[in-house]
């Protein structure tokens, strides 16, 4: 590629500046988290005497084990169930091309634009009448429903991309639809499924509005929903608040960094095909 020298240098500089701006807030959290817990740190200060013990304190006083357990419980139901439902429906829409499928697709797609905030009030009373308010189920059930439009559209996009000839060949060989689905389609769908799984994990882990409204005990919420509880718990200690927030962020960053490649690749594929 032909790039002229000064453009190249300016480009590099701009990029580096933006990268620094991107990480500063995170680095700033870390630097604050490492200051002595009973001080009011100022700005971005290098921790001369890093207080790693703050993370231990924040972990314990913030009941982080319990919160992580609660989040995990929610994730363990929401993600697999959403994947299962979405794969089945995506296959029906994308591969089987069922009659009336177009209508169904349009019906689902509208759900993509409905902000959670617009539904939260009625959702609250629906959950209340179901008698599951203040339990993790109050978040699990709605999330599965709310993620459905995105998940189905995503999986449909994948199945549309699978050549029909594969299905036809399988059926001619005498495979039933179910067998074909299990033996041929599912293995092919692995990349799309794993990307969707990561996305759903992040969304669920980071979900804030639903747990805040539907679960009154912060310790039964998702960790993100419990951040307000942290703000109350560590109200007098900026270092501990930052340490607590960092502890909550770490799992999401780990998941992202580990699965980054599949994730970005599949995300792009999905978004462009949709």
């Amino acid at each position: 590629m032909i790039v002229n020298k000064s453009e190249f240098v300016i480009g590099r500089i701009v990029l580096v500046v933006v990268l620094i701006l991107t990480v500063i807030p995170l680095v700033n959290m870390l630097s604050a988290a490492l200051q002595p817990a009973d001080t009011n740190p100022t700005g971005l200060t290098f921790p001369t005497d890093p207080q790693w013990v703050n993370f231990v304190t924040a972990f314990n006083t913030g009941n982080v084990w319990r919160l992580m357990g609660s989040s995990l419980f929610i994730v363990i139901f929401v993600v697999p169930v959403s994947l299962l439902f979405a794969t089945l429906a995506g296959y029906a829409l994308g591969n089987l091309r069922i009659r009336g499928g177009r209508f169904l697709f349009i019906f689902l797609i509208l759900g993509l634009t409905i902000p959670f905030e617009a539904l939260i009030i009625p959702l609250y009373y629906e959950i209340q009448s179901m008698g599951i308010l203040n339990t993790q189920w109050a978040v699990i059930f709605p999330l599965i429903g709310l993620y459905m439009p995105f998940s189905v559209v995503w999986m449909r996009a994948h199945f549309i991309g699978v050549p029909q000839e594969l299905s036809e060949a399988a059926r001619v060989d005498g495979a039933t639809t179910l067998q074909e689905f299990r033996r041929i389609q599912l293995p092919l769908a692995r990349p799309a499924l794993s990307a969707l799984a990561i996305l759903l994990f992040l969304w669920t882990w980071n979900q804030f509005l639903l747990p805040v409204v539907l679960i009154s005990d912060p310790l039964n919420r998702t960790v993100a929903g419990a951040l307000t509880f942290f703000q109350g718990q560590y109200y007098s200690s900026i270092p501990l608040l930052n340490a607590g927030a960092l502890i909550i962020i770490v799992p999401t960053i780990l998941v992202f960094v580990i699965f980054q490649r599949q994730f970005i690749a599949a995300l792009l594929q999905g978004a462009v095909k949709g």
């Binding site: 009011n40 209508f103 349009i106 019906f107 797609i109 509208l110 993509l112 634009t113 959670f116 609250y124 009373y125 209340q128 008698g131 308010l133 203040n134 995105f150 559209v153 995503w154 996009a157 996305l199 992040l202 969304w203 980071n206 805040v212 009154s216 005990d217 912060p218 310790l219 307000t228 509880f229 703000q231 109350g232 718990q233 109200y235 007098s236 995300l267 999905g270 978004a271 462009v272 095909k273 949709g274």
Partner: protein
């Protein structure tokens, strides 16, 4: 949702499709939402004997106020068959969640509830009158209990008892005496004019006149303190208790609010006041920033621990020398859920807090507040000359001068977040006049009560 959604393509179709589906579902939803009428009858036989069966009592409280933890621990020590499950959330979340919590199938037995609001009308709170008689609470200070009552007309201040206080608070002014000495200020001010003079001296001397914060509305300790000195306390109380026809737009209220505007224009408040929250202004004052700060007795113990003898605590001075003092004070109010499965047990706990010497001592030690109950009962022990001793004396003085008013923020459920906080944020930065403040608050109040 933090992340992306894939490309969505629309025609004219989907809107119609969903509209039809929604209307269809609406048909299924059937008739009007909501219950029919309250069914608040305490179904349990009143008893003042504590059960010997194992019981778990649940309490919903706010974060940052550990009083219930300490009381529960002491109670379990005395009555080992009773244990507690206490959940905590921020004040803002808790007040937003309270009606929902109370209406749920498994309400907490006891809940921190600053404003009764519609909860009595909706039959969510246990009426404590039967226990009032059974335990003989008529010996307690009725002045403290009155704001915890609500009549059939939805007006507080009379009728049946629906709440009790875990400590009864009083507000005043803290002064950094070390800074005062440096500025040549000898005594705590005895009139509002003297207080203003001290502000001016501090300002001229390069000291912040008062450390306040208004990110979460706490500057209203100051705003109401000013209003209190000009307003008719009865009129203000009527407004707070939602008496029909009461208005916020009175000459006294406007005068008080205009004084705040004057202080804002004079630069007596910190310049970053709207980004300072409660915890920040307290710790900054304790760290030596600001000559005065307006706060309650609940901060006395902590402030003394941080500042030693360099701090004084006194009532907001009246306009005229020797005039009566008026101060905000309120019960740290808790209510029992009508749906509680352990009505007798939780009320036993509440009665115990007011009557057991150890419990009363805990209330005062932790909150600096008076424990309430029977005034003739021995008061908790406090260190002589301490701020807490001061605070208890202030409570007594206000009671004697009949000068206690409730917090404006308790007038309705939504008024603090919806009007008082945003409007005071404008007022203390000098962007609106006192009259604007009063008008806006009254408008919100009227709208909310009309509902």
């Amino acid at each position: 949702m933090a992340f992306s959604r894939p490309r969505a393509r629309f025609g004219r179709g989907p809107v119609a499709v969903v509209a039809i589906a929604a209307v269809a579902a609406l048909g299924l939803a059937g008739c009007a939402p909501g219950g029919s009428s309250p069914t608040a009858t305490n179904s349990v036989e009143v008893s003042t004997e504590l059960t010997t069966d194992p019981v778990v009592l649940t309490i919903a409280d706010e974060t940052g106020f550990p009083l219930t933890d300490d009381l529960a621990a002491e109670f379990t020590k005395q009555y080992p068959n009773v244990t507690f499950n206490i959940t905590r959330d921020t004040f803002a979340n808790l007040t937003a969640n309270a009606p929902k919590l109370l209406a749920s199938d498994t309400p907490p037995d006891l809940i921190r509830l600053p404003t009764i609001g519609d909860t009595v009308k909706d039959g969510l709170l246990a009426n404590l009158d039967p226990w009032f008689d059974a335990y003989g609470w008529d010996k307690w200070s009725e002045a403290q209990l009155a704001p915890l009552r609500m009549g059939d007309d939805g007006v507080r201040g009379h009728g049946s008892l629906y709440q009790l206080g875990l400590g009864y608070s009083i507000t005043g002014i803290y002064m950094n005496t070390k800074l005062a000495d440096q500025l040549g200020i000898k005594n705590t001010p005895t009139t509002l004019a003297e207080l203003e003079e001290d502000f001016a001296i501090a300002k001229a001397g390069g000291v912040l006149p008062m450390m306040e914060g208004d990110k979460d509305g706490v500057v209203n300790f100051v705003v109401q303190a000013a209003i209190n000195q000009y307003a008719d306390p009865k009129e203000l109380m009527d407004w707070i208790l939602n008496v029909e026809g009461a208005t916020y737009d009175t000459p006294g209220n406007v005068k008080g609010a205009e004084l705040i505007k004057k202080w804002a224009d004079a630069g007596y408040f910190p310049s970053d006041i709207n980004s300072i929250d409660y915890a920040t202004f307290v710790s900054r004052f304790q760290g030596g920033e600001g000559l005065f700060t307006f706060n309650g007795n609940w901060a006395a113990a902590d402030t003394q621990a941080k500042m030693g003898d360099d701090v004084a605590f006194f009532l907001v001075p009246p306009v005229e020398e020797g005039g009566n003092h008026v101060a905000m004070g309120a019960a740290n109010s808790f209510s029992v859920a009508a749906g509680s499965k352990h009505l007798n047990e939780i009320v036993f706990f509440l009665n115990w807090i007011h009557t057991n010497d150890k419990a009363r001592q805990i209330v005062t030690d932790v909150t600096g507040a008076a424990p309430g109950g029977d005034p003739s009962q021995t008061q908790p022990k406090v260190a002589p000359g301490s701020l807490i001793e001061n605070a208890l004396a202030m409570s007594a003085q206000i009671a004697a001068e009949n000068g206690q008013v409730d917090f404006m923020a308790n007038a309705t459920a939504g008024i603090y977040a919806g009007a008082i906080i945003p409007e005071s944020q404008l007022l203390v930065t000098g962007q609106i006049s006192g009259q604007d403040f009063v008008t806006a608050v009254q408008k919100f109040y009227a709208d909310e009560l009309a509902g």
